[in-house]
């Protein structure tokens, strides 16, 4: 007999992990199933990391409401979970005088939706905040912030796990069979049972629903490419800066976003594509990203790129459609005991916890949910050498030999931090898994210095054979073996 759970969540993105964590507040058994070898490998690891205020979506829409709610609580949750968050505010700038009415429209839309701290700024006020930006005025949003979306998702998963959820990686659900009122979920030879299924599979939400007999959805992937700039450019920008959104382009426009780690992002583009897996970048878009970025901030011309990436929006409206695709969160109309989430594109990161609470409410319509007395929302975060003051650094080094060695020189990551990342509660051992948890390999040398050290640690201290070392995912081998 396969193991049984009260609820199975399919998809380890920000939304699925938030749902798993919120479900753990109640007396029930929860499992989260993720097809990749880590959480946050889908769209949740490939976005702008902006905690949106909520003025971009039509007032009254689910997206607008949950975004405002998510934004209001985000800083607190990040503190609870030990995730970096920075309250940066945000500027939507009018580059041409014709853009000014659009700012007024956004302001009105935001106010109607209850978004706090919105103001129209003069060019001078804007320049005082961001001296490099030449604008004809801007909309200032004081409640917008930034986070590290990967660490946020990892933290949610770890906290869910600490509160009793089982997190199963490398479990690509390929069949959802009915068994009585519940389900058997399968991945190859493996199977487990669940009374309820929550489908939070992002780009694959339509497919997972279809596996369970619900053919009511269709997802259209829309790619957004980014460039990541060297930290040397950090001083040029402290606030996310967006152009006025153009209708029908499928995104908010190419913007500039400082990250919590001190880089600047340029992007994203918006391009409907056929593949749900093609997160590659293209020469034509990279060129356009630069053009648009320099229109916003000409001083970026001298800055260097450290890497590029792309994320896919899971749209429910096809290319060219003018209608707004709102978040869909509902009981399946075809299959009992299945809750589907679809079209969770931006601001899905911001809204992830409100979405999760909504799922709990839907679930409570089907079965009684009883609060657990011992739910612990807090998660400890390891101490960072890089951001510690000198006295602290000295104490860390004095107390711990592993804190006396820098493994990643670009981001100043100690051996202790690498070991902490390697001993992560989800048991992820890929190079990318260490990277996202420690920041090793993310700096300007892109692992030129540290990746050999990570590989050696895996081999010599964790007993992983070279041919079993993975960059990310099961087929992402790095070595064929030992040199003969």
């Amino acid at each position: 007999m396969e193991k049984r759970f009260d609820v199975a969540v399919v998809g380890g993105g920000a939304v699925g992990c938030a749902i798993a964590r919120e479900l753990c507040r109640y007396e029930q058994s929860v499992v989260l199933l993720e097809k990749e070898s880590d959480v946050a490998r889908g769209t949740s690891g490939r976005n702008s990391g902006v905690v949106h205020a909520g003025f971009n979506n039509p007032p009254g829409s689910l997206a607008a409401r949950l975004c405002v709610e998510g934004c209001a609580g985000f800083a607190t949750v990040c503190r609870e979970l030990g995730v970096p968050y920075s309250s940066t505010g945000k500027l939507v700038v009018a580059l041409e005088p014709e853009d000014a009415p659009a700012l007024e429209r956004l302001l009105a839309q935001g106010r109607q939706g209850g978004v706090p701290e919105l103001e129209l700024w003069t060019p001078r006020q804007t320049r005082a905040r961001e001296p490099g930006i030449a604008s004809c005025g801007a909309l200032w949003s004081g409640s917008t912030g930034i986070t590290n979306p990967i660490l946020y998702t990892v933290a949610l998963a770890e906290n869910a796990q600490a509160n009793g959820a089982e997190i199963i990686l490398d479990f690509a659900v390929d069949a959802v069979d009915r068994a009585g009122d519940g389900f058997i979920l399968r991945a190859g030879e493996r199977a487990l049972g669940a009374d309820f299924v929550v489908n939070a599979a992002g780009l694959y939400a339509d497919r997972v629903a279809a596996l369970a007999g619900d053919e009511n959805y269709r997802i259209y992937p829309c790619r957004g490419e980014y460039l990541v700039l060297d930290k040397q450019a950090a001083a040029l920008l402290r606030t996310p800066v967006y152009p006025v959104p153009r209708p029908g382009v499928g995104g908010l426009g190419v913007h500039l976003t400082p990250t919590v780690d001190g880089n600047i992002l340029i992007g994203p583009s918006a391009e409907y594509i056929d593949s749900r897996a093609d997160t590659g970048t293209t020469a034509a878009v990279i060129e356009r990203l630069w053009e648009e970025a320099l229109r916003l901030l000409p001083a970026l011309a001298q800055s260097r790129v450290v890497t590029a990436y792309a994320g896919l929006r899971s749209k429910t409206v096809p290319a060219g459609a003018q209608n707004f695709g709102d978040f869909i969160v509902e009981h399946s109309r075809a299959t009992p005991n299945l809750i589907n989430l679809a079209g969770i594109e931006s601001p899905g990161l911001t809204a992830s916890l409100p979405l999760a609470r909504l799922v709990c409410r839907l679930l409570s319509e089907k079965k009684p949910l009883k609060l657990k007395a011992d739910f612990r929302p807090e998660r400890q975060r390891g101490e960072e050498f890089r951001s510690s003051p000198p006295e602290r650094r000295r104490a860390m080094a004095a107390a711990d030999p592993a804190a006396r060695e820098i493994v990643c020189r670009c981001e100043t990551v100690t051996r202790r931090e690498i070991l902490t990342a390697l001993d992560n509660p989800l048991g992820v051992r890929s190079l990318t898994g260490i990277k996202v948890r420690s920041r090793a390999m993310t700096g300007r040398c892109q692992g030129g210095y540290c990746q050999q050290r990570l590989a050696a640690t895996l081999r010599d201290e964790y007993g992983v054979r070279p041919e079993d070392i993975r960059l990310d995912g099961r087929e992402a081998w790095v070595f064929t073996g030992e040199v003969k």
């Binding site: 020469a283 450290v306 590029a308 000198p390 060695e405 081999r459 992402a476 073996g481």
Partner: protein, 420 residues
């Protein structure tokens, strides 16, 4: 910082590669007492520790040594001179007042040095920096990383490889991978000539029938998990891919040898002026940076192709550092400096300034390959140095010693290339 212990040194050398070791030994020989080498690796020797092929030391010792053998000689020389070599010790901060913060077996420490020598070497340009489009699967390595995996860790990185860029390390890795049983499909180079030394093109590619595709570039990397395919296209004179010339190569590995960048985070932190031409500090003939008492040498100053030249340059830096602590800061600040101007066809010249009366060594690289030329170093009407070259390529650094120093009244010194 309360309770902080500060240790003092006459000369602190950051980086214990061939440059740092030679500089430290020379500083001791020139009279500096307490000379420290701060090296982050467990073993000093720098990048040479992963260069197990031979060919090092031909200029300096008239012998073909392996990298570790060459480094070993300088390590012993430094130890015999009483240099204090602190391994596993990374320098994390440097100020213009020559205060350093280091992390190592002794903890997180602060040092104050009479003079500092920057000898941090270089790092490799990455895929991100040259913005190759496409997916980001496993199997894309820079050549130095690939070399480290094979030579230091005994780990093999793939079966079918394409090498992108024809720098020396890439050429050497083409041969190394072939010898280890991998199939190296080609070396793709954007420019009309190889980036590495002619001898490496012959010994590493031609001898193994590995094609060198000049005027070609990579336009796309594909592969969901591991590299599966790479698209290569011809480029036009402006370096842009020519549509219709694409060819797809099935491979599982891409090795990038697309340039080395002097490692200068610390120099920037301290506020030293960095040259956009070399990526290293702007120095005078004594190899002093724009910060008094801070010197630079080796690949941290400008990327070298032969370690023999690194050692010679580093000795100058060591001697200058020793002279600086003898003379003190004030004595040097007033010196008038004569700028050196690279003439047509010259990519860069190190040093950037000369002191009147000093007989410096000049290093330079040309912009493109040329043959039968004469290089002259001129101060007004006077020729300070001149030499004929049957062939000049950007891959090969040119070194000239001034026959006579620049006269005190010189406005600028020029380095000119003319037909021979």
């Amino acid at each position: 910082m309360r309770g902080e212990k500060i240790f003092r040194a006459d000369v602190a050398v950051i980086g214990g590669g061939p440059a740092g070791l030679a500089a430290a030994a020379a500083a001791r020989a020139a009279g500096a007492e307490r000379v420290l080498v701060l090296e982050r690796e467990p073993l000093a020797g720098g990048i040479l520790n992963q260069c197990i092929h031979d060919g090092f030391g031909l200029v300096r010792f008239g012998e073909a040594l392996t990298g570790p053998e060459y480094a070993g000689r300088f390590l012993r020389a430094a130890e015999e001179r009483g240099v204090d070599i602190r391994t596993r010790t990374m320098t994390l901060e440097l100020t213009a007042e020559r205060r350093l913060r280091t992390l190592g077996p002794r903890g997180y420490e602060t040092a104050e040095a009479g003079a500092v020598i920057l000898a941090m070497g270089c790092r490799e340009r990455t895929r991100g920096a040259i913005q190759i489009p496409g997916a980001r699967p496993a199997g894309v390595f820079t050549a130095g990383v690939a070399q480290y995996y094979l030579n230091r860790q005994n780990m093999m990185i793939g079966r079918r490889a394409l090498i992108v860029g024809s720098g020396d390390v890439g050429l050497i890795m083409a041969r190394r991978l072939t010898l280890e049983g991998a199939r190296v499909l080609a070396v793709v180079e954007k420019l009309p000539y190889a980036g590495g030394l002619a001898r490496n093109v012959v010994q590493c590619l031609e001898d193994y029938d590995i094609p060198l595709l000049l005027n070609h570039t990579v336009t796309r990397i594909e592969g969901e998990r591991r590299v599966e395919r790479v698209t290569v296209a011809r480029v036009d004179e402006a370096g842009r891919a020519v549509p219709g010339t694409e060819r797809v190569w099935a491979c599982d590995t891409v090795v990038l040898s697309v340039g080395l960048i002097p490692e200068n985070e610390l120099a920037l932190q301290a506020g030293a002026e960095i040259s956009p031409l070399t990526g290293g500090a702007v120095v005078n003939g004594d190899l002093q940076t724009s910060i008094p008492g801070v010197f630079a040498c080796g690949n941290a100053l400008h990327v070298h192709d032969l370690v023999d030249h690194v050692s010679a340059e580093a000795e100058t830096a060591g001697q200058s550092a020793a002279a600086f602590i003898r003379a003190g800061t004030a004595a040097r600040a007033e010196d008038r400096l004569i700028p050196i101007r690279p003439g047509a066809g010259v990519r860069y010249v190190v040093p950037f300034f000369l002191r009147p009366g000093a007989r410096s060594l000049i290093s330079l690289r040309v912009k493109e390959p040329m043959s039968r030329r004469r290089i002259e170093v001129r101060a007004g009407g006077r020729v300070l140095a001149a030499r004929k070259f049957p062939r000049l390529t950007p891959a090969e650094m040119v070194r000239l010693t001034l026959r006579e120093p620049a006269p005190p009244e010189t406005e600028t010194v020029e380095v000119m290339i003319s037909d021979d």
